[in-house]
Amino acid sequence: MAGLANVFGYGAMTNHQNDIRNSRSIMIIGMNPAENHPISMQHILTAKEVNRALIISVDPRFTKTSAFANKYVRIRSGTDVAFVYGLINIILANGWEDKKFIAERTYDFETFRNEIAKYDPDTASDITGASKEDLLWVARTLAENRPGTVIWAMGGTQHNHGTGVVRTYCHLQMVLGNMGVPGGGTDVFRGHDGIQGVTDVGGGPETLPGYYGVGETAWKHWAKVWDVPYEWLLARFKSKAMMEKPGFTVARWYEGVLLDAKELGQEANLKAVFFMGHSTNSMQQMDRVKKALEKVELIVDIDPFVTNTAVLPDRKDGIYLLPAATNYEAAGSATNTNRDLQWRQKIVDPVYESRPDLTIMVDLAERLGFKKQFIHNMKGDWKGVPATPMSEKDKYVKALPEQTIEDVLREINMGCLSIGYVGQTPERLKRQQEWGHVFDIKTKKAVGGPVDGEQWGLPWPCWTDKHPGSAILYRTDIPVAQGGAGFRAVWGPTAPDGKTMLSADGSAPKDGPTKGYPAQKDYAVDLTGESIKLALAEGRNPYGNGRARFNSWNIAADPFPIHREPIHSPRPDLIVKWPTYDDVKEHYRVPQPYKSMQKPEWVKSFPLILTTGRVVEMEGGSAPQRTSSWLVELNPEMYIEMHPKVAADHNLRHGEMCWVETPEDMDAKPSRIKVKVKITKRVGPDTVFLPFHWGGVFEGNSLAHKFPEGTAPFSIGESANTVTTYGYDRVTQMQETKTSLCRVKKA
């Protein structure tokens, strides 16, 4: 998301799944929608059938998606930058670029062109392993079949330079002029059902809801929305500095427990950890996670199921398990991968003693002394929350009513102005739910009825309660009132080199100023909504009309993405030429070494590339799926995919057990797991693949006996992340699980 935001202004999928039906070429790179987003495949295959769209699958592994593709190109894991810049070089050499788009809507193409000249076809082929002929074929196909979309997921992002990889995908689409048009776009498919929405209106350690950051302006904005004095919030923190300093991430929080406090970006170590619908087997370096879980004083796991977290650590006390209700036992909205908000009705009341997460939060806030502020905002208290203590003996609140949840959404509508989460009111979402049948399948736009003209899901930005939503971002052929927009003018009117960051004359959404313009003053913090309305009245987009950036000057380490060999690279020769970053003293409160962790000698004892991914029956840490008898029957156990040559060289037969071992990294001994061999040519002879969904077995030993009685999943297995190694993105700290080095041994 940081990659996209640093090019276009917003970190989100630009087009939508249904819109892929308009594509004429579809490059799917680092992504396997046939398994990870199966229903989106229906739209992709419709494009193939109806438009004769050409599907190109680029992946280290021949996936089920590759099986549907017109062309499969195998690249070495972690070499996307070289692959995509190789393509762009071929496009430029042949004059296939969209010169008008580049001139009118982008910034610093000339420098970019020189910067990427080094990825000539020979170099790109050497780094990636793709042939020059394939590179040419792909470049020509993308150029001759516009509009085309580029789709990716974690295969692109889980690298030490993942943010750079994402920017290269964006650059490809800018060069081809595939942005802001139906059938085009940069279509990152996100993983979890709530991940886009929770990124947008939740926020993480570096930002408050709505991407406001954690600076003073952000806190003051939210203090206003929450109707609490800024000083009160400030006093809740250790200091103003800590209030404005990004916290630990899920990728490396455990170092906050394990490292000496002197090495951390905060005074004390972490002593307590909450997991709320979050498995530990999806965390890289799970052997380190285990140690942290053994050292921390308090673990609270709030989940509908008993997760890996409860059984992983060897400890005798200090773990609480609280039964959370699922999303089907409470109402609420969720934003899907293409920014559509959809309302869920409650299907049943919370089962057994489980409770919805919001109810648990209110109860905890009460006991921790801030319920009054927590349930309040500038329009009053959330309706439905009892004034009496939540735990009052006879009438313990099991679940807050739907009106409480609606009030939280209204609070989001009040405050998340920056990204246009304004018009998605509970009333409008519920009305759409009743009128799903009037939405066109290709455009996702309603035809007739009370929702006439609205986009399904009111995709953000949806600026007012009359706005239809923006199904395709950065689209200038329609007015702002119908979802039109230029690129976000978030970098100011001029770049550091003095060039304009506003789009050229003639490139602007219809029915407004024809030239680029800066963002409407205060549109993101004016809680009256007047600033937004003023801009709309003049046909202007509140966030302005700017340029997409080839040069992201604020990312100091590489303003233009550079191919960086993985920390665990199988090519010592390329480490010399394309090393990873310099070590970083502190990133999200922990030291983040790069070069000192990249050891060219590793490949000698760990010769195979280890990559990870998903299977269709499972999702994430898969506590809910591995406890479903149906899904477990379809995909019962953990395995490793191995090329026939690797299997033969190690005298391994299909179905036998083997050990997978990875380098020692930060710990004294190598990590290892024992898994069943699946022999297949899906992977090449240099790579093995592990699905990452399993848990409940650690380094060959079952943990089944450690589950509370009757709660162990039907299927337990080794976690891939026990053996994934050190390596994190330079910007986001995304874990580098897609590229480790390993060796296999007969068990």
Binding site: V300, D303, Y328, D357, R589, M618
Partner: protein
């Protein structure tokens, strides 16, 4: 009690003059076999079902609730069917603009998120190496006392909250507000893993 397939009006499918395809299939015990078989079955079965329906007791009302599958970010719609407060079955939401009723294997098994026998049923804590059942009140009292004690000793940054990308927007928003009001930025979810 035995759950009897009905239509949405709380009546037996067999007694309903507006017997539709799905109710017919359900009543005929063919629901899982799909439309192909229905096409072969012809009208004679229909009569038989109607005849069987007569004189039998009224079944509890079947409620339908629209929801969105939580297994990935595609956002497929489905309809959950509830009888007597129990989620008994699932129907396609054919008019849903994204999935038009279809679901993958995970979506087809989404009911298991709620009805799985493996659900955690009540609060528990690990004590002396054994899992012990607790009331919510006791669990939250103990947890909050411990948190407040740690906070007093070391400050608010001793807490890490790893929350969920499975959260609804409302939960995601609320937990970030919660972390801010507790006084830490140590709160994150699966977006970066």
């Amino acid at each position: 009690m035995k759950l009897i397939p009905t239509n949405g009006n709380g009546k037996f499918a067999g007694l309903n003059p507006e017997l539709n395809r799905r109710n017919f299939l359900r009543a005929a015990g063919l629901g899982g076999l799909g439309a192909g078989l229905y096409a072969l079955s012809g009208p004679s079965l229909l009569k038989e079902v109607e005849a069987q329906g007569k004189g039998e007791p009224q079944a509890p009302k079947l409620e339908q609730h629209k929801s969105i599958c939580g297994n990935c970010a595609v956002g497929c719609g489905f309809i959950g069917e509830v009888q007597n407060g129990v989620w008994v079955s699932q129907e396609p939401w054919f008019e849903h603009p994204i999935n038009q009723g279809s679901l993958c294997s995970k979506g087809a098994a989404v009911r298991d998120h709620v009805v799985s026998e493996k659900r955690l049923r009540y609060p528990m804590k690990l004590e002396g190496g054994k899992w012990k059942r607790l009331s919510w009140d006791t669990a939250l009292t103990e947890i909050s006392a411990k948190l407040l004690a740690l906070r007093k000793q070391h400050g608010p940054d001793i807490l890490q909250i790893n929350f969920s990308a499975h959260y609804s927007n409302e939960n995601g928003f609320a937990i970030r507000k919660f972390a801010g009001m507790w006084g830490t930025n140590n709160a994150d979810f699966q977006a970066r893993i």
